[in-house]
Structure formats: structure tokens, C-alpha cells
């Protein structure tokens, strides 16, 4: 006869509520681990998907995933000349938040080096990659945009021609792919009045110089388009991504480009490592602390509940002792209940998680290794939780029945 299950059946309501409570706590613990894994997955997703072998970034910086990196776009042509380089693409990426259909629309604007890169590598789940140089975009499904929907960004309107799933930036915002020139147009879009004021300022600065006074034709140039002024650098990009020819030694190409004093070179793995050791590392520690706290709280709650359940049975335990029951029978009664609460709570956490986690705003990745380690922890805290109750039960004298 299993006394633990008999007692549970008798106190089913309390046991079920306790198990549900523990299960939900464990679901949060499980979810915390999943959010951390999701952060890693999302952070490294773009770097892995884009398929670049080498990243060339501003000299002395850690690249666009760690800090601001600015390099001239024409660096793309310079690196193409390096032996072993198959292709070079500009990396333009920035986050914007605009109002669309009456609600905020926050996205990561990702530039594709048209015409070499039309986004054929982007895992499109509906629609197609880019097929024209302007006014088309591929949007992630998390943004809630529909295929064929038109979105006004800056002064232009872009049509959603493709949809992806799970393509998000390191901050969890959905990625939107545009041609690089469109991405820059969105990034550097300023109101007409700002342009007019800037041109007036340029003219004023020119008029204050000797050159401006002796060459009046210059004044016509400075109030024109910025791209026509050689004194102003063209828009810069964050990085250049290189794809090497098959069989090329990545280290050798990286070493060659590293000798240029104006840039720094990273391999794909180095970029992933930089990402993970930067922002994700802090999130990892934060989530880790939360998990540890929740596990401690779960253990304390379980211990209190098991202790209370034991106190309720003190008279019955004294009676069992009086009848001559071995300690193993009494320990088994308490330990089995603690383990049942732990195991059922864990199962409930997993079951609830399969429904709840996909609805979380950030990706939650539950890996078997994490499930296993949490399972072992749950067994551990179940045993720990029962210790207080067992201690109390062992101290009960059989003559307690007489009181």
C-alpha cells in the first residue's frame, strides 16, 4: 500500500493546487533558461544566416554589433581586389521606430548590396526576395506586416514582397531587408526644412571665407545636393562583409586585410563571440541570477508545503510508529510526496511551456540539455524540501497518539 498516494488522494485539492503553483514557478525557471537560449539564437542568427566569411569594420572598433562602426562604402571595391575574395557586400543596419496603422512599428532596417545581394539567402516563408533596386522590402512575420502591404518610411513607400519567420535582431525587433541605398535613404532621411537650413548654413559659412568671396560660383554649388560636394564624404556603411572563394584560407585573407591601418577584421566566429560576450553576457548573468532565485524560492515553498503536510499527519505518523512501522515507511511517505510534487510540477511546467512560450514576445528555446539539468535540480530540491518534514516526523514520539 502506498501511503503517499493514499494521502494525496485524500487531500487532492491542496496537493493539486500546490503542484500547479510549483509547476508555474518551474515554468518560469524553464522559460528564463529558454529566453537566454533564445537571446543567443537571435543574436547570432543574422551573422550565421548572412553567410559572410570575414567582416571588415572600422579600425580599432569591435564592429557594428558591439559599437558604432563607420567605414567608407567604397572600401567594398578595395577588398574585392584582395586575392581569394569572391564577393563583398555592404553592411548597413539600424533600428527605427515609426507609426504604422496607428501603432508603433519597430524594426531593424537591414541593407542588401544590390544588385549582388538580392536577399536570395534570406529564408523567405512567403512571397519572394527583392527583384528591383528600390521600394521593395522583405519583412519578418513578427512585425505583423502582410504580403503586399505598403509601408511609408521617410519620403518613400515600400511594398512588402517577402515574409520571413524568426528573423530578428539582437534586440528582438524584426528584421526588414531593403537594398542598401533604400536602407541609407531611410537612415539619413531628414525633413525638407532641415535640408534647406543646412544649405543656408553652408552658404553662410562660405560667405565668411575668402574662397567664397572670390569664387561666387561656389555659392551655387554649396546650396545644391550634398552628393555633388567633393568636400562632403558620401554616406558611410557599418561594415563590409566578404565571402571568400571556395578553398581559400580565411586566416590568410584576414591577415592581408589586417595590415591596412584603417580597418579591423573579424571572422564569422569572432563576430558571434563578440556578440555573445557583449550584450548577451549581461543578459545571461541577469537571467541566471533570476533562475537561481526562483529555484531557491521553489525549494523554500516546497519545503514549507511538505513540512505543513507533515505537520497535518503528525498524529498518523505517531500512530504508525506506535504500530511499529519502520522509519523507512515514514520517510517514504514524506519523500514520495515531495518527489511527486516536484516531478508533476516539472511535467506541468513543460506542458504549460509548450503552449505559453511560443506566445512570448522574445524567442524561447528549450534545449534537452537544459531540460535535463532542470530535472536534476527539481529532484534535488524535492529531496531538500522533504528533509525538514522528515526531521519533524523522525522526532515524533509514538506516545503522541495518547495526547
Amino acid at each position: 500500500m502506498n501511503l503517499a498516494t493514499k494521502d494525496i488522494r485524500h487531500n487532492f485539492g491542496r496537493f493539486a493546487l500546490t503542484t500547479v503553483g510549483i509547476g508555474m514557478l518551474l515554468m518560469i525557471v524553464m522559460g528564463m533558461g529558454g529566453i537566454y537560449r533564445g537571446l543567443i539564437h537571435e543574436a547570432a542568427l543574422f551573422v550565421k544566416q548572412v553567410g559572410a566569411d570575414i567582416w571588415v569594420v572600422q579600425g580599432g572598433t569591435r564592429g557594428p554589433f558591439a559599437e558604432v562602426s563607420r567605414i567608407p562604402a567604397n572600401l567594398e571595391d578595395r577588398v574585392r581586389a584582395v586575392p581569394g575574395v569572391a564577393s563583398a557586400r555592404r553592411f548597413v543596419s539600424h533600428t527605427i521606430q515609426r507609426q504604422h496603422r496607428g501603432r508603433p512599428l519597430r524594426m531593424v532596417v537591414q541593407g542588401l548590396s544590390w544588385p549582388e545581394d538580392r536577399g536570395d539567402w534570406v529564408p523567405v516563408t512567403a512571397g519572394r526576395p527583392l527583384r528591383q533596386a528600390h521600394y521593395e522590402m522583405i519583412a519578418d512575420g513578427s512585425l505583423g506586416l502582410l504580403l503586399g502591404e505598403k509601408v511609408k518610411l521617410g519620403k518613400d513607400v515600400y511594398e512588402v514582397v517577402g515574409l520571413t519567420k524568426g528573423m530578428v535582431g539582437t534586440g528582438g525587433d524584426g528584421l526588414c531587408f531593403f537594398t542598401t541605398s533604400d536602407a541609407e535613404a531611410i537612415q539619413f532621411d531628414v525633413p525638407g526644412e532641415a535640408l534647406r537650413l543646412e544649405r543656408a548654413a553652408r552658404l553662410s559659412r562660405l560667405e565668411g571665407m575668402d574662397l567664397g568671396r572670390v569664387t561666387p560660383l561656389l555659392s551655387e554649388r554649396v546650396i545644391g545636393q550634398a552628393s555633388e560636394l567633393p568636400a562632403l564624404a558620401p554616406p558611410q556603411v557599418s561594415a563590409i562583409m566578404l565571402t571568400l572563394q571556395p578553398g581559400t584560407d580565411i586566416a590568410k585573407v584576414a591577415e592581408t586585410i589586417s595590415t591596412w591601418p584603417d580597418v579591423t577584421v573579424y571572422s564569422r566566429q569572432q563576430q558571434v563571440d563578440l556578440l555573445l560576450s557583449g550584450m548577451v553576457d549581461k543578459a545571461k548573468r541577469q537571467l541566471g541570477l533570476f533562475r537561481a532565485l526562483l529555484i531557491i524560492i521553489s525549494a523554500i515553498i516546497m519545503a514549507l508545503i511538505i513540512y505543513t503536510l507533515t505537520l497535518d499527519k503528525i498524529h498518523d505518523i505517531a500512530m504508525l510508529k506506535l504500530m511499529g512501522a519502520r522509519n523507512g515507511v515514514i520517510i517514504g511517505l514524506i519523500l514520495q510526496q515531495a518527489l511527486l510534487i516536484g516531478v508533476l510540477g516539472y511535467g506541468l511546467a513543460y506542458w504549460l511551456g509548450t503552449y505559453a512560450f511560443p506566445k512570448f514576445p522574445r524567442l524561447v528555446v528549450i534545449e534537452n540539455q537544459d531540460l535535463l539539468s532542470l530535472g536534476v535540480i527539481v529532484l534535488g530540491i524535492s529531496v531538500f524540501a522533504s528533509l525538514m518534514g522528515i526531521g519533524k516526523a523522525m522526532g515524533v514520539e509514538p506516545n503522541k497518539v495518547l495526547s
Binding site: 500500500m1 493514499k6 488522494r9 498518523d316 511499529g324
Partner: protein, 237 residues
């Protein structure tokens, strides 16, 4: 009364003394108590509260050891002063049965399970334990309530189940502490007669602590305790 083949008494207590505290706070709860019970003998123990009845019962029940004296059960010495000569917990489950004022049934077990659990903790196979539990419940007239939880049983039915539990392991000695206190006189008498029937048919010695003087004719002998001392009651044969 059933005589053992070798005329070995069911239980023999010699010079039992129990002293609580020491020095100025010393209290003598039981003083040089000696008693011998034959198999199948039913003995009543009377006395006011604080007379030492429960101390005697817990001493002879191997729950609360005496300060001095010897206890022998079924011919085997089990306690010499406060030194146990056997594994008392194992001895209790194999040779002793207890019934109290309250039935003390486990609320999460059915009547049948309350009886069979006493056998299962004594290593009886579950199937055999259930079979004997049903036989005992039938014998005590509560078989129709076998599947009910204690909450669903009347006080008398609960006490019958408690008696069945005490009988489960065919004990040499049954100790009952005011088993009829919570029952009306009719039910109380029924339970007392039950003890007599059980003792005579099963050969167990039974000691019943009681305040109920109306059922004393049920017992083979009656003792009275006062100030820790045991003596024969005038009604005793």
C-alpha cells in the same frame, strides 16, 4: 481464559516503577507494579486521572520504558528497567495491539486499508493483508463499511475498525486505553464484550483501562490503580 501449552503467561510485569524528573521535581508515577496475565485473559484497570494507568499501559506497551522492573511477554524478557532487550518497534508491530479512546484511524485510508496497513508494515503480502483485514472486519461486523473512509463511519464503527487493526497481527497482548469513553453505554458495552470475545477466541491477553464501572462483569479480573500503585478491585473474582 486460554492456558498456554507450557503455562507461559501472556505477559508478566514485575516491580514496574516509573519516576519522572529528579530531586525536588521527582514524581513517582508508578510504584512497584507487578501483574501476570494468562493468554485469553481480559483485565480491567480502573483508577482516577493521574493514578498512573497510562504510565503502566505505555510501559507495558513498550512505548515509555519504566525506570525499574522487568517485562516479559510470551515468555520472552523484553524490557529490563529502561533497557530494551528486543527491538521494541519490531516487537510492537509483531506482538502488541493498541486501541485508544479515539479510534486514531488514518483519515486517508479506508476501513479495510486501516486494518491491512498494520499487517503490511509487518511484511505481510498486500493480498494476504487485505484478505485478513476483510475477515476481521466481517468478524467485527463492519465488513459492509470496508471501503469507507473513517469520516463516513460512526464512532462505534470506527472503534470496531480500530479493534480489527489491533488484532491484525495476532498479538499476544492488546492494550486498550479508555476505548469506550467516546461511545454511549450501549456501544461501550458492545466494545467491551468484543474484547472479551476476541481474547477468548484469539487467545490474546487484553488490558483495558476504563472508567466505566457498568461493564466490569465482562472482565476476568479487575485492578485499580491509585497513586501509582496497583491492587485488586473489590469486584474482581
Amino acid at each position: 481464559m486460554i492456558a498456554d501449552a507450557n503455562n507461559t503467561p501472556a505477559v508478566e510485569a514485575i516491580g514496574l516503577t516509573k519516576i519522572y524528573g529528579s530531586g525536588n521535581t521527582e514524581v513517582v508515577a508508578m510504584k512497584d507494579v507487578s501483574v501476570t496475565l494468562a493468554h485469553g485473559e481480559v483485565v480491567a484497570l480502573l483508577g482516577p486521572s493521574g493514578a498512573g494507568k497510562s504510565t503502566f499501559l505505555t510501559a507495558i506497551g513498550l512505548i515509555n520504558p519504566p525506570t525499574a522492573g522487568r517485562i516479559t511477554i510470551g515468555g520472552q524478557p523484553v524490557m529490563d528497567a529502561d533497557r530494551a532487550l528486543v527491538d521494541v518497534r519490531a516487537y510492537r508491530r509483531q506482538h502488541l495491539g493498541f486501541v485508544f479512546q479515539k479510534a486514531n484511524l488514518m483519515p486517508f485510508l479506508s476501513a479495510m486499508e486501516n486494518v491491512s496497513v498494520a499487517m503490511e508494515i509487518n511484511d505481510v503480502a498486500p493480498r494476504d493483508a487485505r484478505k485478513r483485514a476483510m475477515e476481521l472486519l466481517e468478524y467485527l461486523g463492519v465488513a459492509d463499511r470496508a471501503d469507507h473512509l473513517p469520516d463516513a463511519l460512526s464512532g462505534g464503527q470506527q472503534q470496531r475498525v480500530a479493534v480489527a487493526r489491533a488484532l491484525a497481527n495476532r498479538p499476544s497482548l492488546i492494550l486498550a486505553d479508555e476505548p469506550t469513553a467516546a461511545l454511549d453505554s450501549h456501544r461501550g458495552r458492545q466494545v467491551m464484550e468484543l474484547f472479551r470475545k476476541v481474547a477468548h477466541e484469539h487467545g490474546s491477553a487484553v488490558i483495558v483501562v476504563t472508567h466505566d464501572h457498568r461493564s466490569l462483569e465482562v472482565f476476568d479480573r479487575t485492578y485499580e490503580m491509585e497513586d501509582g500503585e496497583l491492587r485488586s478491585h473489590p469486584s474482581s473474582p
